[in-house]
Symmetry: C2
Subunit: 409 residues, 2 copies
Amino acid sequence: MALIVQKFGGTSVGSVERIQAVAEKVKAFCNKGNQVVVVVSAMSGETNRLVSLATEIDDQASAREMDVLLTTGEQVTIALLSMALEKTGIPARSYTGGQVRVLTDDVHGKARIREIDHEKIKADLDSGRVVVVAGFQGVNEKGDITTLGRGGSDTSAVALAAVLKADECQIFTDVDGVYTTDPRVEEKARRMSRITFEEMLEMASLGSKVLQIRSVEFAGKYNVPLRVLSSFKDGPGTLISVEEGDEMERPVISGVAFTRDEAKVIVRGVPDIPGAAYKILGPIGEANIEVDMIVQNIGEDKTTDFTFTVHRNEFSKAQNILRDIAKELGAKEVIGDTDIAKVSLVGVGMRSHAGIASQMFGALAADGINIQMIGTSEIKISVVIDEKYLELAVRSLHAAFELDKPPTK
Amino acid sequence: MALIVQKFGGTSVGSVERIQAVAEKVKAFCNKGNQVVVVVSAMSGETNRLVSLATEIDDQASAREMDVLLTTGEQVTIALLSMALEKTGIPARSYTGGQVRVLTDDVHGKARIREIDHEKIKADLDSGRVVVVAGFQGVNEKGDITTLGRGGSDTSAVALAAVLKADECQIFTDVDGVYTTDPRVEEKARRMSRITFEEMLEMASLGSKVLQIRSVEFAGKYNVPLRVLSSFKDGPGTLISVEEGDEMERPVISGVAFTRDEAKVIVRGVPDIPGAAYKILGPIGEANIEVDMIVQNIGEDKTTDFTFTVHRNEFSKAQNILRDIAKELGAKEVIGDTDIAKVSLVGVGMRSHAGIASQMFGALAADGINIQMIGTSEIKISVVIDEKYLELAVRSLHAAFELDKPPTK
């Protein structure tokens, strides 16, 4: 008998019919002898409906009251799903975040979970019930209702799985797993049966929006095996877990991730003096602008071009901040480019295989794609290229590393 | 400085605009230096929407889960009203029933309040906030969400007023007070400025559906002055409080109440033996059928006609139960009539004035209205008549007791 936490998002519970379908899915799982805790989001559309009611009243409404308002969304779903389960003959009981005391900090709208009281849940499971918990929500020490922010239901599910020492946390979504790259760009993209937490983090943060990053971090930290599955069709999905070296020959490269969300800022002709990088990035950080890739190259004239990428939404803000800084530094100019894309190869196998980078650059060169920036981590190599080559680059790399073929045993 | 509990029902908070209007009303009250606790219902239509979602899944859904579902309705309203108050510059804070620990018994859907923890509310009031509390809801000892049943928000408001020792509990509704009779039947009906708890109970239970009976009982028990006011127009409304003999000459009769909801059951020719009444009414009570008026008269042949009234919805059920009983008893037959109406004169002044009954019967006789049954209590005289005479009877009594004229000092 396994203990499984299953999470169903807004689309999966978007109507009475879908809630009934979820109940059938959970029932099938129970009938195999599993204990099941279900975490649900608000029915799709409901959160937006509530937000727009609030906005009509005050577009700067207090975060505390927004949380009181929005948490009704999941509360409706837990009640309806429990009813649907009981209707199919499965005893069920619903709990709000506050009722199982998902204790969070005080940050309304973006709270972080501190602890969960799992006694009630354990007791219900032991007496043969399915427990249905409202995702996304908790309470602070004072008993005020808090929310974990958008996508927080994934985090709720992982936190519950960690506290309950569940065998697996299953995230049901509208895709049937994690792919080697976006199938809309490369139709040969292949669903991976396994991926490590680290790889998933790199894939997710690079634009494969299957899971909330925080929930993957959380799952990795507490070593909760995470499985991404489709709500709408059966299949094994993708298991995200720690690397298990003995199990199979790991593929060198797992996938190709990409994003169009970044923009490039270049401070040209920065005098090569100590502290120049700090003077440039300090004010950017103070303005809460997140910086992704950073490249610096010393030129021949003892000046340097300092280049970094930020989210496109913050491109103008970053440029404005830097204009004065550049003058102070005696730099030549601040320029930038929003028509860029970042493409990344991700794979834990990379650690032990030399030559991946050169193979990557070779493949891109063969297709005539110029590389503007390069960044590397332990399990990732990213390049910034002209946005118009994005699809070509993704397909080129997908083919070069034979990602359409399942990894060989 | 007074402490006032104000309750706004579903129609009063039925849209964003109306919630904003309520916020303005509350603000005006605060600006006069009052401390205000606001109790709200779900936005009109919301409870029905939630019920129909549940019914789609299971028309026998568990009462526990129904309560989880329905309580989201008021939770939305408290958040929106708090936002609207803050937008107008009035600091406000919302609480669900669970958060201020409206502790109830275990009866989901019809719970009774046991106690309320008013510490948080007091602290907020003392720091200058308006406190907005979700009506209709509470929690039981286990922390499960409960509801007080339809109209329970009135009870929540009165209970809060009692616990907080509020100076007044104001129930805002779609009528501007309690009238001497239904203005749709008698256009000369007059809004009463005061009425006693006892009179209000008789008026309410007899069909003037302004307030929930339970809340009036509750207010009387804890001596909470209750005021019925219109949400939509200004005015003093009707104050419901204990009788204060020194204040004014009480009118003998306060109002004329009536109902079309009853039906008459007659067991004819019951042998006049001890225990006959018990044998008839015992099974009726066991079937949870509520009996209102009961009349028994011994005839000349040592048999009696036993007549009582029940709610029309339970008329067939009552008749079916009695058919067998009548045989056992050796009674002649069971007959009945649904085309009846009950008209009642209500007034605490009745206690000290003889002759009210004869004046009443005289007025009805003068208009040719035959009386089928008569029942009396300390402050009420009720008659059952043919339904077709209902309006005539109401107008006849309203005129006979000069209810269109304000009571003289």
